[in-house]
Symmetry: C2
Subunit: 384 residues, 2 copies
């Protein structure tokens, strides 16, 4: 179902020959309206890919008619000529839709620093235009994969019968602001751009932004939310935010489970924090400890590596009041050894590390993965 679950959207995914090997590598999503309201959030990286610079400009107008996405090349660090390539891609779609390029968003993912093969890409746009269909969401989700082993799609129904659907890609370079990912979410609810923007920022802040598999922030992250209004339903904002959050959380979980080389899905749950920011800061520091990620990979309940990561932050805490549980066993109490670490069962794929800062009522959870030889292998051998 993916991005075509809601009414008013057509999509396609085709093999344009951007990737070697003949896999799908170009996706197109068209919003047939009646509304074209849209919102977007983009990478916080200061080195932004050409399509990010372009699409941020498009989204500042609050309207998107279509999104064209390619895998096989990030079009990042490609200079003014790379930006012209993005512009030409948007113009190509706009011409076919008899519209202005100013409402065509562009997303790219793949290797940084190389120009895209524009002849192949523009021919691919023609092919995608010819294949646009109400059931094209799955093909579109497939076409944006890079090292993703599976397509990521999700949808939820909201009160009154409107739909929210989405697709995402991302397997490495998953760190906040956002993760390294492209994500398009669609809805047939009827809401103005400002409401979409508020819902999307709130949802991404608590989902994709709390995914940190390898601490590496991408140049290309883009999350778009497009509304067609085709259901005629005008949802309440709070309820709509919950549905968008659910779709984002579902896609974030799929990204985590497909992270490059990972064998564990680790939730770093920080409680007892003086503020939510403190909880996020501590969760992030722990999620970035290569030593801890190796220990979890080795199924070693090494809570000392948790404390040594907590100690690098400026969060409010006293070292002798820290408590740590791994999968429910409080192996560190008051900053020293607690229950017997041999009681911790680290065999399951899902691992929860709970850190109690004993400093307040706030909490947050950061999701990460273990560090494995497979991660090293994949990122040594694959130029991305």
């Amino acid at each position: 179902m993916s991005v075509t679950a809601p009414l008013g959207f057509r999509a396609a995914g085709v093999a344009a020959g951007i990737k070697s090997g003949g896999a799908r590598d170009l996706a197109l999503i068209v919003n047939d309206g009646p509304s074209r309201a849209a919102a977007g959030v983009f990478t916080a990286n200061r080195v932004k890919a050409a399509p990010v610079l372009w699409s941020a400009q498009v989204l500042s107008g609050g309207r998107v008619h279509a999104v064209v996405l390619n895998s096989g090349g990030a079009n990042a660090c490609t200079g003014p000529l790379g930006f012209q390539d993005t512009h030409a891609t948007a113009e190509k779609v706009a011409e076919a839709l008899d519209d202005s390029a100013g409402e065509i968003a562009v997303c790219s993912t793949g290797l940084i620093g190389e120009r895209l093969p524009m002849d192949a890409l523009l021919d691919g746009v023609d092919l995608a235009l010819s294949q646009l269909a109400r059931d094209g969401g799955l093909a579109a989700a497939d076409a944006i994969r890079t090292t993703d082993t599976v397509s990521k799609i999700s949808f939820r129904k909201g009160d009154g019968g409107y739909m929210v659907g989405g697709m995402a890609k991302g397997a490495g370079m998953l760190a906040p602001g956002l993760a390294t990912m492209l994500c398009v979410i669609t809805t047939d609810a009827d809401l103005p751009a400002e409401a979409l923007d508020a819902a999307l920022r709130k949802a991404t802040r608590a989902t994709f932004d709390r995914l940190d598999t390898d601490g590496c922030m991408s140049t290309n992250d883009t999350v778009l939310l497009l509304a067609s209004g085709a259901s005629g339903v005008v949802p309440g904002l709070a309820e709509f935010e919950q549905v968008v959050h659910a779709v984002c959380a579902d896609l974030a979980r799929q990204l985590l489970l497909d992270a490059e080389g990972a064998s564990k899905a680790i939730a770093i749950e920080v409680v007892g924090a003086a503020s939510e920011d403190d909880a996020v800061t501590v969760g992030r520091a722990v999620s970035r400890s290569n030593l801890l990620k190796c220990a979890i990979h080795g199924e070693d309940a090494n809570w000392g590596r948790v404390l040594s990561a907590v100690g690098t932050t400026d969060a409010v805490f006293e070292p002798d009041r820290l408590n740590v549980a791994i999968n429910g066993i409080w192996i560190c109490r008051g900053g020293a050894a607690g229950d017997d670490r041999s009681k911790v069962d680290l065999a399951p794929r899902d691992v929860t590390i709970t850190i109690d800062l004993s400093a307040g009522p706030h909490s947050a959870t950061i999701h990460t993965t273990d560090l494995t030889a497979e991660y090293v292998h994949e990122n040594s051998a694959y130029s991305s």
Copy 2:
């Protein structure tokens, strides 16, 4: 030669049975004077091991009579009882030297979160006391190794014939503030504690603090500088600083070359920065990119991963003015592809990544390593 290269020092390294397997695990260094002036720098981690808390207190007095060091256990996150263990160790040495425990520094390294086997350790102190010798520096350097495959020692002669000697350990958890390391430097120069402190801070800031192999900061880092004054030479401070710097730089290089699982020694050389802080910030961000470290391991000149790491910082730069060279080949110019990346020879162990921010006259170099399956293996299998 190590810490016994300068006059006025005796040392020993013995097997106390703290480590299983019978390897040396306890070192003792005694300053026979006539001076006992000393300085120390310690981990910036807020979770500090008991011996760090103890030794920082000792060093606040500016005098050290002896240092006792153990491997086989960090005595970190061990609560008040762990602190009592450190105190008892210092008392044991002080009693034998007919002195107060307030001039006995203690250092520990090994697994976090477990108490030390104090009976074995205190017997080991007796054994070490009986073996103290002018040529004991090598045995002492051997006794502080954990995953270090080799002992790290260094010495330099200063103007007028005084000596500076040193030993260090550290192979993982090498990140600034300081690296995960213990280091004792000795000199027979005659300088007051304030001068030693100034020289040591200046040297560590530009050496150990610029080593970042895995971004993980230890709970136990300690660097001590002890002066016996036995040569009678009173060096000029600037010249003394240079000699201390040379010993620290030599030891830092040895730590880098022995880093856990590393196959490459990578210098991240940041030039054209608006400030030295900016250069350090950028170098540090790049040195912590797991994706880049994997790429260098795979001998892939993936400059896009350099730029994506630079882009996460708040340093002064414009993305379209960034230049990057790997081993002298400028593969990124003006934020886009430059010379042919296939010209880069990444076969040698030493790799230099030069990043020109085009924003000013300042520079700094951070030293790191590649990320390898061996690192993952070592830190999955070894509880440290």
